[in-house]
């Protein structure tokens, strides 16, 4: 197709009956995205370079002052580093646990179909509702988690999960991991099932052990899937607002905030709209880089 289009003059390529129909059909999508997505992004950039009052009206040009202010705050760097740590740790855990579940589900055992369905539940459930359920599970006096941990003698003095910086971060990141595991498991499982049985059979004849089969056949067989699923998971994890906001609201004292929750609180709770916009711009840039990498990998796979 590209060969043919190259010889047609540009004007004709842009303006012919087929192209006109395409523009017409794309108009609703473009208009809606323009008004409710691109314009807001533009506006956030504008606000990041402006002074704004407490009801988010722009009152003057600020140049780079907001960013100088932001980068001069120690708390901004703490939260940025925490966001990256949050993403790295959670994605690593989701990948490992998802892989383990995929390996388990790839074995034929009675009840495997039912097990597969049950493993999906954390993903199928609504994130805000799951977060509320976890908040109850973590309850220091009446929550069943600490009771169970004590009853199973895993620990005798369980932490007050949501009231402590370290335990709070662990509690939040676990819920985020918990939500993300099923997607990883399903994608890895789909990849594993696409690997030809012949490979495993010849490996069996060669007498290799299960670990060698896993590292020499399974892992290379799902490497493309591994890449795209990890990228997608990075985007979701970095973007996770609901879990932290509902479990701890970033507390105690901002010790569980990541960029995404901090933007919201800086804007709608502290009413510092220029600062919030500055953080949103930084976040936008990080997300764009990740999204472009994801899109590149996705496109490459569509072609192959």
């Amino acid at each position: 197709m590209s060969d043919r289009t190259l010889h047609i003059p540009l004007q004709q390529r842009l303006w012919n009956p087929e192209a006109r129909l395409a523009y017409l059909l794309l108009t609703p999508a473009v208009v809606v995205l323009g008004v409710f997505m691109f314009y807001p992004i533009f506006y956030v950039f504008l606000m990041a370079f402006s002074k704004a009052n407490r009801i988010s009206q722009i009152t003057g040009f600020a140049g780079l002052a907001n960013f100088r202010d932001l980068f001069g705050h120690r708390q901004f760097w703490v939260i940025t580093v925490r966001s990256l740590m949050w993403t790295a740790l959670a994605v690593a855990a989701k990948t490992l646990l998802g892989m383990l579940i995929a390996v388990v589900l790839n074995v034929t055992f009675p009840g495997r179909k039912a097990a597969r369905m049950l493993f999906i539940v954390p993903w199928a459930s609504a994130v805000p509702i799951s977060s509320i359920l976890w908040r109850w599970v973590y309850h220091p006096n009446y929550g069943l988690l600490n009771y169970t941990l004590t009853a199973l003698r895993i620990t005798s003095s369980p932490p007050i999960w949501l009231g402590d910086p370290v335990a709070g971060f662990a509690a939040c990141i676990w819920v985020d991991i918990w939500i993300g595991i099923p997607f990883m498991a399903l994608v890895f499982l789909a990849g594993m099932q696409a690997i030809s049985e012949d490979l495993y059979e010849s490996a069996y004849l060669d007498g290799v052990n299960w670990w060698q089969k896993f590292t020499y056949i399974t892992l290379p067989g799902i490497r493309h899937i591994l890449l795209i699923a990890t990228l997608l998971s990075c985007l979701w994890t970095f973007n996770d607002f609901n879990v932290i906001y509902i479990l701890t609201r970033g507390g105690p004292a901002e010790t569980t905030d990541i960029l995404i929750t901090s933007i919201y609180k800086t804007g709608f709770e502290y009413r510092l709209f220029s600062q919030a916009s500055g953080m949103a711009v930084v976040t936008f840039i990080i997300l764009s880089v990740l999204s472009v990498i994801y899109a590149q990998v996705y496109f490459r796979q569509e072609k192959s």
Binding site: T5, R13, L14, A19, A22, L25, L26, A29, V32, L33, F36, M37, Y39, P40, I41, V44, M47, S56, V104, V107, F109, G111, L118, F119, A124, S125, A126, P128, I129, I132, L133, W134, W136, Y142, L144, L145, T150, W178, I181, F183, L186, V187, A190, A194, I225, L232, F238, F241, N242, Y245, I263, Y264, A276, T283, L287, S291, Y298, Q301, E302, S304
Partner: protein, 276 residues
């Protein structure tokens, strides 16, 4: 053969252990919603209710006015789904079937914005919604939810339209169908499974959405379900036995719908790497 059986036993043991951990909050939900308030507020707590009762499941409809929130969520999710479909189908057809300059760029753009966080734009979007006089309306959430799903649904529908052999459409065009007729009479009926997946996806997205609901809606009758439930947490009088019962009801529709689209959803997200 012996090691194979050992592998199976190990798989079953691991599956049960992992499921016990992963389903923990749902076990807790069921345990709590079957307890009376007195049993719930006993420290230390216990798993099996001593006098299990179903009354929480019914009284939550009265005491939380659950029906009000359900109604809001249904209106918002159906509205977002309808708007999403109206925008998605023509756009997806255009990128899947028509030749025009910039087709690749448009597709690429949709893929990149698919994962953008609503939090980045929520401040500006709040101003736009307020400016249009749409604060505290269903319309604000219908639009916001539709906007944040169309990039993904266009991609999904693009894939389904592309998988339909072009000869079918060409034959119809030769037989005198107009473009519009080929879309409504041929493409859409064949792509129904994909279309249903995209529609259910946008319904679930709106049903589960939290951030926009939290920001745009202030008055109780228009609150979607998840915001309604959130409002009950953190108050010093939180009645957890009722809240868990409400969560149970709120989860049923999304769980059912999710299982209908799960396989296609995974394929849509992972691209050519996974087949539906």
């Amino acid at each position: 053969m012996k090691w194979k059986n050992r592998g199976k036993v190990l798989a079953v043991v691991l599956a049960v252990a992992l499921l016990a951990v992963l389903l923990f909050p749902f076990f807790a939900m069921v345990s709590t919603m079957l307890k009376s308030a007195k049993e719930v507020y006993t420290s230390p707590p216990y798993w099996i209710p001593k006098h299990p009762l179903l009354s929480n499941l019914w009284s939550v409809w009265r005491e939380y006015e659950l029906a009000v929130y359900f109604r809001s969520s249904v209106i918002i999710a159906l509205g977002a789904m309808a708007l999403n479909t109206l925008i998605t189908v023509p756009a997806a057809y255009a990128v899947a079937r028509l030749r025009f300059a910039g087709r690749k760029a448009v597709l690429y753009l949709f893929l990149v914005i698919e994962m953008f966080s609503p939090v980045i734009v929520v401040i500006a979007l709040f101003k736009i919604v307020a400016g249009l006089g749409l604060l505290d309306t269903y319309v604000s959430l219908i639009i916001a939810n539709a906007v944040f799903t169309i990039a993904f649904t266009i991609w999904m529908m693009n894939g389904y339209f592309k998988s339909i052999p072009i000869e079918i459409e060409e034959a119809a065009l030769i037989d005198g169908c107009t473009r519009a007729q080929t879309i409504t009479r041929i493409m859409i009926p064949i792509a129904v499974p994909g279309l249903v997946t995209a529609m259910i996806y946008s319904f679930i997205y709106a049903w589960n959405e939290f951030l926009f609901g939290l920001t745009f809606i202030q008055s109780k009758p228009r609150m979607p379900l998840v915001i309604g439930l959130y409002q009950f947490v953190g108050r010093w009088t939180t009645q957890w036995e009722l809240l868990n019962a409400a969560a149970f009801w709120a989860l049923i529709p999304v769980l059912v719908l999710f299982y209908l689209i799960e396989r296609r959803l995974v394929a849509g997200l992972a691209g050519g790497a996974v087949k539906a």
